[in-house]
């Protein structure tokens, strides 16, 4: 039997209070190497607070936390060298160019000249910003800034990445590029925790989902497991897929003849798929495709 990958994030009874407000309430969480965990929840559910604690920016009020086997408070510097954080805010310097931003953060991480040049070039290419690398960030579109925001968090090749709503306010093309960047990370075995209000994003990108509400974990599991959660009302229906529309019509006739009630519903693309099909997947804000 194959052994499970090691645990990279573990919390036990994690609690954070701000005065009388409990933002995170006795949260137990676990993430294994290479895993992609989605944190879902409405505004104020405690997603960002949890990420701030795990990434050393905030002290917990109570509970135990270990990230990559380290204590975020006691081993802050050692841990920070191994994690990447993509914040909700566009945490880049608008009066600098995209290249200057990445070079600045790369130097702060202590990358040597050669490694720095390579990391900056790779970051710009990954974010689709190579052609606009020497333009001021203040001239970038929202999507370009978001991609740069993500690239800046990956310069030092972190083992674990926290992404806090990384696609807020951008067009489908840029969002698609962000997805591709995240999927590339996952393909390299980087573990990540991803928060979003966009359920489709989490569905697409994450292996496992934790749903938070009022700082508490209300459900956890794969999408399939959550769909069978006891608290979720199920319609009792099932669907069959057919490669051709004619096959579906014949099957429906057969079932009706046998006295089995059924409804035929065509599998149509969602609006985003329609949009991307009509406008293409290429980035529209001057970045390289």
């Amino acid at each position: 039997m194959a052994s499970l990958p090691p645990i990279v994030v573990q919390t036990r009874g994690l609690t954070r209070r701000f005065g009388s407000l409990t933002a995170v309430d006795r949260l137990d969480l676990e993430l294994r190497a290479g895993e992609r965990l989605g944190l879902l929840g409405p505004n104020g559910a405690g997603k960002s607070t949890t990420i701030r604690i795990l990434s050393t920016l905030l002290r917990p009020t109570a509970g135990e936390v270990a990230v990559l086997g380290l204590d975020p408070i006691g081993d802050g510097d050692r841990l920070r060298a191994r994690i990447g954080v993509v914040p909700q805010e566009l945490a880049v310097y608008e009066p600098l160019t995209g290249r200057q931003n990445l070079a600045f953060f790369g130097r702060l991480y202590g990358l040597s000249r050669g490694a720095l040049d390579a990391a900056v070039a790779q970051g710009l290419a990954l974010a689709g910003l190579a052609e606009r690398a020497d333009d001021l960030v203040s001239t970038y579109s929202g999507g370009m800034k978001r991609r740069l925001n993500l690239a800046a968090a990956l310069l030092h090749a972190p083992e674990l990445v926290f992404l806090d709503e990384p696609t807020v306010g951008i067009d489908p093309q840029s969002r698609n590029r962000v997805f591709e960047m995240v999927e590339a990370l996952a393909a390299n075995g980087v573990a990540m925790i991803y928060t979003s209000h966009q359920l489709g994003e989490v569905e697409r990108l994450c292996d496992r989902i934790v749903i938070l509400d009022h700082g508490r974990r209300v459900a956890e599991g794969t999408l399939a497991a959550l769909q069978r959660h006891p608290a979720v009302a199920r319609r009792g229906a099932a669907s069959l897929s057919f490669a051709a529309a004619e096959d579906a019509a014949r099957a429906a006739e057969t079932l009706a003849a046998a006295g089995v009630p059924c409804a035929l519903r065509e599998d149509l693309p969602d609006l985003e798929e329609v949009f991307l099909a009509l406008t293409g997947r290429a980035l529209r804000d001057g970045g390289a495709a």
């Binding site: 990434s55 050393t56 920016l57 002290r59 802050g76 510097d77 954080v85 909700q88 702060l108 968090a153």
Partner: protein
């Protein structure tokens, strides 16, 4: 109707803006109070009017010189400091004025007592710092009653005769006029003696001073009152700073004060804005990104200090170069001293800028707090007007600001032509202010980062 709706909305927003309210209503009240206090009108009393320090060097050591010292000590506008003329601290009143320790000094030479006893005009020398024009007016105005009190008759006699020259009486008639005045003088003395012996009531008007005031304003407005008085007192006057050209000296002194005052005030404003970039980083999210870099959390505040300090140095350099080009400010006379002093001033101002940024929770709070404190420090510290015209307590309070120490040191360099060694105490205090503000900012910053 719509205009009223808009106005009502804006009023509602304005009333919720505490910082705006503070700046709009609180700051004018605070500044009016400070200005009122500076001009000695606080509470409507006269006790708070500023006194001018006068260094007195008594080389005579007689009862007459002691009487003069006592009279000077009772003058409302003077704060008399007796100079040590023997022992390790021995110096001269002249040196004290030349070094900028006193705006004026009085030498009572040997023979003063003898001259007073003989009814002659006593020999006195007044040393002046011509750059401190207001102080000279106050000194001259207070010397007159003090000298009259101590050696009245001789001076009165002398002034009566000198008045012929003040009013440009024709020289050809002066001998004859002197004889008439001598006769009048004798007659007046007899009149006063008889009045004192008879116990007669004072003539109408003199008790209330009405008679004294009549026509006085016209005379004052026509004359350079301070200069005429010193002539009338028979004082030998020497301007010991400024190279003998009093008008030029006054101009340079005013310009040196103006440039230094504006430099320090604008430095504080500029550096608070630089320190405010810390808040911009926080609001923009880059501060968290910096905090996520290993080891960078400790360097963030240091980086902000360095950046702000460099900008401050550049600001001072540009302003002083401008002062040199336009006002002939002597910035190259002691360049090392000026550089060291400016380094210390920029460091102290930077400390304040960074501390304000750390204390403030928002950009708006920073602007409100810094405007209030900087304007207060500028008023208290002498950026806007010389501290010498302010009451003692005001000057004392003023020296709790970095502005006062910076102004003292810049004045010492630009006007009194002092060297680095002379301004080391001021530099030390400025560096101590820098260290204290930086330590406070660091402590608060560290505490907040641990939250």
């Amino acid at each position: 109707m719509r205009a009223w709706l808009l106005a009502r909305k804006d009023l509602g927003v304005y009333l919720r803006d505490r910082i705006g309210m503070l700046l709009g209503f609180g700051l004018p009240i605070v500044l009016a109070t400070v200005f009122g206090a500076a001009m000695g009108t606080f509470g409507g009393g006269s006790d708070s009017v500023g006194r001018v320090a006068l260094a007195v060097e008594d080389r005579d050591g007689t009862k007459a010189s002691a009487d003069l010292l006592a009279s000077l000590g009772e003058a409302d506008g003077l704060r008399v400091w007796r100079i040590e003329i023997a022992g390790e601290d021995a110096t001269t009143a002249r040196a004290k004025v030349a070094e900028g320790d006193f705006p004026a000094g009085l030498l009572i030479p040997e023979g003063y007592g003898t001259a007073v006893a003989a009814g002659e005009v006593p020999p006195l020398t007044l040393y002046r710092d011509p750059g401190k024009e207001i102080e000279q007016q106050i000194v001259a105005g207070n010397l007159l009653p003090a000298l009259f009190d101590a050696a009245g008759e001789a001076l009165g006699h002398r002034m009566m005769l000198e008045s012929l020259e003040w009013f440009e009486f024709p020289a050809a008639l002066r001998d004859e006029a002197h004889a008439i005045l001598e006769g009048t003088w004798d007659g007046m003395q007899t009149l006063v003696r008889d009045w004192e012996e008879d116990g007669a009531p004072a003539p109408a008007g003199t008790a209330s001073g009405e008679g004294v005031d009549a026509g006085g304003e016209d005379a004052e407005s026509r004359l350079d009152f301070g200069a005429v008085l010193t002539d009338a007192l028979g004082l030998e006057v020497e301007d010991v700073v400024g190279g003998g050209d009093a008008a030029r000296a006054r101009r340079i002194a005013s310009q040196a004060h103006a440039v230094a005052g504006i430099a320090v005030m604008m430095l504080l404003f500029g550096l608070v804005a630089c320190g405010g970039t810390l808040l911009e980083e926080r609001d923009g999210g880059t501060l968290d990104r910096l905090r996520l870099v290993p080891g960078a959390a400790r360097a963030i505040l240091g980086g902000k200090f360095l950046f702000t300090w460099v900008v401050g140095m550049a600001q001072l350099a540009v302003l002083f170069l401008y002062g040199r080009l336009i006002f002939d400010l002597p910035i190259f006379r002691a360049p090392v001293a000026l550089a060291v002093l400016s380094t210390a001033v920029a460091a102290a101002a930077t400390g304040f800028g960074v501390l304000f940024a750390v204390v403030s929770r928002s950009r708006k709070q920073l602007e409100g707090l810094s405007t209030l404190v900087i304007l207060l420090m500028s008023a208290l510290g002498g950026s806007w007007f010389p501290l010498v015209i302010t009451p003692d307590w005001y000057r004392f309070l003023g020296h709790f600001t970095l502005t006062a120490w910076a102004m003292d040191a810049y004045q010492a360099l630009f006007w009194y032509e002092q060297e680095l060694a002379d301004i080391l105490p001021e530099i030390g205090i400025l560096l101590a202010i820098a260290a204290a503000t930086c330590a406070a900012a660091h402590l608060l910053w560290t505490r907040r980062q641990r939250a």
